[in-house]
Symmetry: C2
Subunit: 388 residues, 2 copies
């Protein structure tokens, strides 16, 4: 099976489909957004079903130079039947990180990670095997990666396999890649690991990662790479679990040892979402104030224009060009601020929605934690105070 998370137009998908068709006869391209979603899956096994979840937050449309918003980023799911096993395969691509020190997209990426894990948790109860691949744009110890791994119980191929062949540290975004601006990778020793293959088995099947490898920069004999990130290849072994027993949701969704850590991680994510919410509300207020200013200016201009017409007659000619230019400017301000106000309101709603879900999840996790008192002491609660 073959995941792609950066196929940005259907023509590229069709080209790949033709080239890969002999080895991977089955494929699915997920369509979303203006130019995306970029997600494609090629498979040796028949694809029975496909479903797409579009992330509620994905950057800002006016950040055209970044362009993530136009990609309509999402998580795609396909269902395969492999030797009688139901295998759920997820492919995704999260919002890029443009500046690690002042990452204004962090709350969006955390909400995306939350929606990704919620989608995987809610849709994979019937799966024997779950495999997730994609460009998460997060380092292995970043909040979103920890949240995803600990809440879904998905294991990381890089840390699980005994046989790894590839770039140092499993890095997939490296300075040797010709598409990479190597300066930005200097603080990280020339490379970061931001692409992952995660997996988990079930009560029915044990899954282990037999090997993992990455490409290492340019294609041998050529000056170019196939992509700006290195490709990952993993081999899995499915072993039927002899101790089969009745599956229930509780069992599928259990967190044997990491419950206290998970509570802390969800708390941390909630804090990040609250910070994002504060920023989004601030931006909405600023937009509303600017819009009101535009409206006042427009009304003022109309009043000034009305004076010579209705009160002083035509003796004092009004400078028409300036009048129209100022009117157009006010109108443009009103239009842009209205659109932005709608956008920021939707952003606020999505952040509030994610925070509500996190609060609910924390309640359930803490209740479960009370039932297993061993880990209570290691949970610390965080309180955030935001003043605007």
């Amino acid at each position: 099976m073959c995941f792609w998370s950066q196929v940005w137009c259907e023509a590229d998908f069709l080209f790949l489909k033709e080239k890969l068709g002999s080895v991977y006869p089955h494929s699915h391209y997920f369509k979303s957004g203006f130019i995306g979603s970029g997600l494609a899956v090629f498979s040796r096994h028949r694809i029975h079903d496909a479903f797409l979840y579009r992330y509620s937050l994905n950057g800002y449309p006016y950040m055209v130079q970044h362009g993530d918003w136009f990609g309509g980023k999402a998580v795609g799911k396909i269902v395969l039947g492999i030797t009688g096993l139901t295998v759920h395969v997820f492919v995704t691509h999260l919002h890029a990180e443009y500046c690690r020190e002042r990452d204004s997209y962090l709350p969006h990426r955390v909400v995306q990670a939350w929606e990704l894990l919620q989608f995987i948790r809610h849709t994979s109860a019937g799966a024997d095997v779950v495999i997730m691949g994609g460009d998460l744009n997060m380092h292995p110890d970043d909040l979103g990666t920890r949240l995803l791994r600990s809440y879904t119980g998905l294991k990381d191929c890089f840390t699980e396999t005994d046989s790894f062949d590839g770039c140092e540290g499993g890095n997939t975004h490296i300075s040797e890649n010709p598409f990479t601006n190597s300066d930005e990778l200097v603080p990280f020793g020339g490379g970061v690991r931001i692409d992952y293959i995660l997996f988990k088995g079930s009560e029915q099947v044990d899954v282990s990662c037999e090997s993992l490898s990455t490409t290492k920069g340019p294609v041998p004999g050529h000056p170019f790479s196939y992509s700006d990130h290195e490709a990952l290849t993993a081999e899995f072994l499915f072993t039927p679990n002899k101790k089969k027993h009745q599956r229930s949701e509780r069992e599928v969704d259990c967190f044997p040892d990491n419950l206290p850590d998970l509570v802390n991680t969800v708390n941390e994510a909630r804090t990040e979402v609250k910070v994002g919410l504060h920023c989004a509300e601030h931006m909405r207020h600023t937009t509303a104030r600017t819009g009101i200013m535009g409206l006042v200016l427009l009304v003022l201009e109309l009043a000034i224009a009305a004076v010579p017409i209705f009160a002083l007659g035509d003796d004092q000619p009004f400078p028409k060009a300036s009048f129209y230019l100022l009117g157009a400017l006010c109108f443009a301000i009103l239009l842009f601020t209205s659109l932005l106000y709608i956008f920021y309101s939707m952003e606020v709603k999505s952040l509030q929605g994610a925070e509500d879900q996190m609060r609910l999840a924390l309640g359930s996790l803490q209740e479960r934690l009370k039932e297993s008192p061993k880990g209570l002491s290691s949970v610390h609660s965080e309180t955030v105070q935001l003043k605007s």
Copy 2:
């Protein structure tokens, strides 16, 4: 438990929470869109988890008088534990129908129904009981309702119960309701059934609907109703299934008798989505042409303006006011068409994505149909030719 699908602001939710708190201590309000999502659930039982799926299509932002786009319509899911059973509860509200004869929103509503059934199918594999309530804005025999019922296996309380008390035919949108424009209901005999409670059990539990009732217009003793639709109340009986056996996805997702009908219904939905796709592509082309026209006009205007400045000098004064007005008009055309082009491209992508999923589903269903040859003869295939 209590579903609401038209709670349009958080203040209303908090008011209801306070009023209903003594009977339904647990609640969740789903936030989405600019003013929505309108979805709220109140429950006697603890809510363990909540998840929201926003529909990819939901009308047009410029149809402000209809306003559905601003509601950010979605399907919300909550997970309850009732006497040891895992109960998945879904609440939704689909796009309204404003004109049944020329329903331009039909493809959007069909895609919403498709996404709703996909969400329910994919997320309810671990459920012992599934209950769905909401305003589907579709009549009982409409394409979307048939598709939802037949693909998910959900049963309709109105047709399943032996004890019904309410408006004739189970109608929920009736002319007796003070908020209703009764003229629009004349062709339907004064009322339609567009709100539903659907349910299904599992291998673990048999579920039956013991009773269903609706309110009947205004609140007794008052001139007003609580809502523009009549409220539905259902009582369920959960009976543990003694013939418990291992659950697999195939079993959860089986369609015992209606496979040929289901194939026909998915074909019908695919046809409707193709019609919508044709319209969306046509609108995108029209928008692009208008945008190019605006651009040409702007370039032409700039060229005309340049002539007296650079070639003929200041002897022929250019009418400044007209120049600025025309420039502003061209700029406005370019701006609006650019925004619309992005919107229509996203609509096209969503329609194509839904159609791809339907094609994939049809392949799987037809394969399953081949395995049970009894129904092959009753399947008819539809081919659509669209010429622009």
